[in-house]
């Protein structure tokens, strides 16, 4: 397939497709999907950036790095802190903004600022018939009709090919600091994070590094504010055990980049899973994983687990409220277990119904989210 350079060329590619297509942004997720590759790499560029209105509109294939550089020049950022998967997955390529949106990629700051989907203002996409659809726009508040913006976020290309996204951006905090609460077991760790997150001091990162048994907490803002809040948190948490100031500024930034990208698992053997749960369930569920390594983010609500290749982690967990996503595995394991947690029947029916409407020929990223349903081609 020729590389589409415009939205209408993309629409023509989709309309002309005669079988399954695998939609690809930067290809950093290492997904191998059936069909011809349809790349967004020709759809690049920032159409609009208004720092005073906190809005950015960009073509889906625009590299995230390009956007982050542009924002940094105005002291702004993508507050949802999208993870860079390359080291963890051993992939190359450049993550694109369309890929980030399609996978709703959100980092440690999700607990305070929100997820990628919370920063989405508008989308343009090509549906399975080749029609160009828009929803939302470039304004902060918009309830005009159904919110297909959020539906497209996290739909992994199974409902359409994103061509353009608009996002809310936020000021980049002037200063940051990381506090460390050492020597915690997991139950203490989750409790400590819960106390911190339930304080008025606006924690923007709360992680538990299991192998070092330490809780890390991030505070961001104006420098006076960071100093004040750090002091108050130390007072608050001291009751639970020793607390120390671990890092400030760039050193603190590096700690959270490592957590964001799950650097500890990069280059280590085995499969990687991401388990989303109620934070207080973490100490109950974590032992069931029998993992080789664990990292807790989001105050305990996100467990990163490294397990021997081929492990069916969902079977190990058993009954749970939440879900487990297979992030890194060989193709055989991916095919056997599926990337996404199976859904209860009524939800699976709705999801299949939406797919059948948005992509009536069932050509987009087949088998990725719909492996439990018959394909519709």
């Amino acid at each position: 397939m020729d590389i589409a350079q415009t939205e209408s060329e993309m629409a023509a590619c989709v309309a002309g497709a005669s079988g399954p297509v695998a939609i690809r942004g930067g290809g950093t997720r290492g997904l191998v999907l059936p069909g011809e590759v349809l790349t967004t790499s020709g759809l690049v560029g920032v159409q609009l950036y208004e720092p005073g209105a906190l809005t950015l509109v960009a073509s889906a294939g625009t590299p995230v790095a390009e956007i982050e550089t542009l924002l940094a020049a105005e002291n702004q950022q993508l507050a949802f802190e999208p993870m860079d998967h390359r080291a963890l997955l051993g992939t190359s390529g450049a993550p694109t903004i369309g890929g980030v949106v399609a996978a709703n990629v959100s980092g440690p700051r999700r607990i305070q600022a929100g997820a990628c989907r919370d920063f989405m203002l508008g989308v343009r996409y090509v549906d399975g018939t080749g029609a160009v659809i828009k929803n939302g726009g470039r304004v902060m508040k918009n309830v005009t009709g159904y919110d297909l913006v959020r539906l497209m976020g996290g739909s992994w290309g199974t409902l359409g090919v994103l061509t353009q996204v608009s996002l809310k951006v936020l000021p980049r905090p002037q200063a940051q600091a990381t506090l460390c609460v050492p020597d915690c077991d997991m139950a203490q760790a989750v409790k400590t994070m819960s106390v911190a997150l339930g304080s008025p001091f606006e924690i923007t990162g709360a992680a538990y590094v299991t192998d070092r048994a330490e809780v890390l907490l991030r505070i961001e803002g104006f420098s006076g504010s960071v100093a004040y809040r750090t002091g108050r948190l130390i007072d608050l948490l001291d009751r639970l055990g020793a607390v120390e100031l671990r890092a400030e500024g760039a050193a603190s930034g590096a700690i959270w980049k490592a957590i964001r990208d799950v650097e500890a698992f990069a280059g280590q053997p085995g499969d990687v899973w991401r388990v989303s749960i109620k934070p207080s369930d973490a100490p109950l569920i974590a032992p069931r994983l029998k993992a080789d390594a664990l990292l807790l983010d989001w105050g305990g609500g996100m467990i990163w687990a490294r397990v021997p290749a081929g492990t069916d982690l969902r079977a190990r967990i058993g009954q749970m409220s939440g879900h487990a996503t297979l992030v890194r595995a060989d193709p055989e394991t991916r095919a056997r277990l599926g990337m996404f947690h199976p859904q209860p029947a009524p939800l699976a029916t709705i999801s299949a119904g939406l797919r059948a409407r948005f992509d009536p020929r069932g050509i987009f990223n087949t088998g990725l989210m719909d492996r439990h349903q018959p394909l519709g081609v």
Binding site: G52, I133, G137, N142, L170, G198, S276
Partner: protein, 519 residues
């Protein structure tokens, strides 16, 4: 029951233009509701009897005198008594009711507290109103995980009320929060004064229990931060009661900030005020609220509430949160920026009393205007950078139509609330006002914005959807309803222009059912 909850505000203010039927011409476009289905009306007795079998006696209202209480929401110019009203007490009862209505082909209009300004809860003659007002329990408060689970009929303010003793709050705070229900907030994806920092409903909703039109109960999300699979939660939020009936919700609660204080600034030129807003945001300060008022609103609310506002063209109220020292530092920075724009007044609050006085006029703005005039409140959103152009154009349009327009709105996020003043007793004035309203909303869309930032489409902006969306855009949205509610029985005559939804709605299903029954 219906609009009385908020007498000081809403469509037409205190002296609502009460017009007995719902066939008013509005904005020169069709505001009719579809013709009621005679076959449904003919079976009223049997349908009511079925409903009475699954609900307690007092939970089924069908006498005409009593159903009148549900004839409208806060868009009070449009009224129609429903065929019947049901007030179930739990998810199971909702499911039973919907199974019956599905089987009988009866349209269902879900209702929270009836404060919608867009006609979202407006009945049709052949419908059953499904009110969730009796479902108002707190099911679980969980401070460790910072969530609360409530039945959807609980009012917005009483959610915060339930967690206030522990110094927590539920962030979205529509001005109707004393009355409006979480159900309506979810259906409309409602916002509030503090959404610049905390987001709107969709950003604070973690899970729902919802009943589909055929009675199927589904659970989406929960206490974890991201629901699995497609973002159905995001899709349901803002779907105006057309995809399912939400019966329970899991909401994010937050610890209250240590304190909050505003600064008031007056300017001689609205454009300068707009530039000041943009500079504050660019400087990296993120206030919780930035509110804007123009001269008409400043004068009217000052006369009404005696807030001591300066005599000027534009007023900003900017509020920040944190400890005393943090507030001081942020306000100092904001004041510094403001000074560069030659304000006619800068008044930093130093105490709770001063804060209250600064907010007093703003909070009574709608009420104050309602005292002197009938008014219509619009809700378009624009890119903040277009503020000066849009304000200028609104002024020009007002002069063209010979009507005054006041502006009071959330400046930080561009959600405007132009208030068009008119005289309901003057024949033709309401129509003129509605025509001007339509022009202003189109202006918002043309400026890169949208028809509605937080009130929803309902019936009010239904036909203006063509101005914002192409047929393919609308088709994609209607396809979603096809999946959740294939027979188009849930609140079917809302959101989409009637001509766009016609082939899907209507009596097709009822006809099939009658056919089945005869067979």
């Amino acid at each position: 029951m219906c609009p009385a909850v908020w007498p000081c505000l809403g469509h037409g203010g205190l002296s609502n233009p009460v017009i007995g039927n719902i066939n008013l011409p509005k904005w020169g476009v069709n505001m009719d509701m579809p013709t009621p289905d005679a076959r449904v009306l003919a079976r009223k007795a049997r349908i009511v009897a079925c409903l009475q079998q699954v609900l307690p006696q007092d939970a089924v209202i069908h006498e005409v005198a009593e159903t009148r209480a549900y004839e409208c929401d806060a868009l009070t110019a449009y009224r129609c008594a429903p065929m019947a009203v049901v007030l179930p007490a739990c998810t199971q009862e909702v499911s039973e009711v919907l199974k019956i209505c599905h089987r009988e082909g009866v349209p269902v209009v879900p209702r929270g507290s009836g404060t919608s300004l867009a006609g979202g809860a407006l009945p049709t003659e052949d419908c059953v109103i499904l009110g969730v007002a009796r479902m108002n329990a707190v099911l679980e408060t969980d401070y460790d995980n910072r969530v609360i689970r409530v039945q959807s009929g609980r009012t917005n303010l009483s959610v915060t009320g339930a967690v206030e003793p522990e110094d927590f709050f539920y962030a979205p705070d529509p001005s109707s929060q004393l009355a409006c229900a979480i159900a309506g907030n979810i259906a409309m994806n409602s916002g509030g004064a503090h959404c610049l920092k905390y987001g709107v409903t969709t950003n604070n909703l973690l899970g729902v229990t919802m009943v589909l039109m055929d009675g199927t109960v589904i659970e989406i999300g929960g206490a974890h931060l991201d629901a699995g699979g497609l973002d159905l939660l995001g899709l349901i939020c803002g779907s105006e009661g057309q995809l399912g009936v939400v019966t329970e919700a899991t909401l994010r609660i937050l610890r209250k900030p240590e304190g909050a204080r505003p600064v008031l600034m007056g300017f001689d030129d609205p454009e300068v005020a707009g530039a000041c807003v943009s500079d504050i945001i660019r400087a990296g300060v993120l206030p919780v609220a930035i509110e804007f008022m123009d001269r008409l609103c400043i004068r009217t609310s000052d006369n009404f509430a005696n807030a001591g506002y300066p005599d000027c063209e534009a007023l900003l109220i900017v509020e920040v949160e944190g400890s005393e020292a943090e507030i001081d530092a942020q306000l100092a920075q904001i004041v510094d920026i403001a000074r560069r724009h030659d304000p006619v007044e800068l008044r930093e609050s130093r105490s709770p009393e001063e804060s209250a006085r600064i907010w007093l006029g703003r909070k009574s703005a709608f009420g104050a205007i309602g005292q002197i005039n009938d008014y219509m409140c619009l809700d378009g959103t624009i890119p903040v950078s277009e503020l000066p152009m849009v304000l200028r154009r609104i002024g020009e349009l007002g002069r063209e139509f010979g009507l005054q327009v006041g502006n009071v709105f959330h400046a930080g996020d561009g959600n405007m609330h132009p208030l068009i003043l008119f005289d309901a007793n003057l024949p033709g004035d309401l129509e003129k006002c509605e025509a001007l309203g339509a022009e202003i909303l189109k202006l918002c869309v043309d400026a890169g914005g949208c028809l509605t930032g937080e009130h929803g489409v309902g019936i009010e902006k239904r036909d203006l959807m063509w101005h914002q969306y192409t047929p393919a855009d609308l088709e994609a949205q209607m396809a979603v309803k096809d999946v959740f509610d294939p027979s188009w029985l849930l609140n079917p005559a809302k959101v989409f222009p009637l001509d766009a939804s016609e082939s899907r709605r209507g009596s097709k299903r009822a006809a099939e059912l009658v056919g089945d029954a005869r067979a």
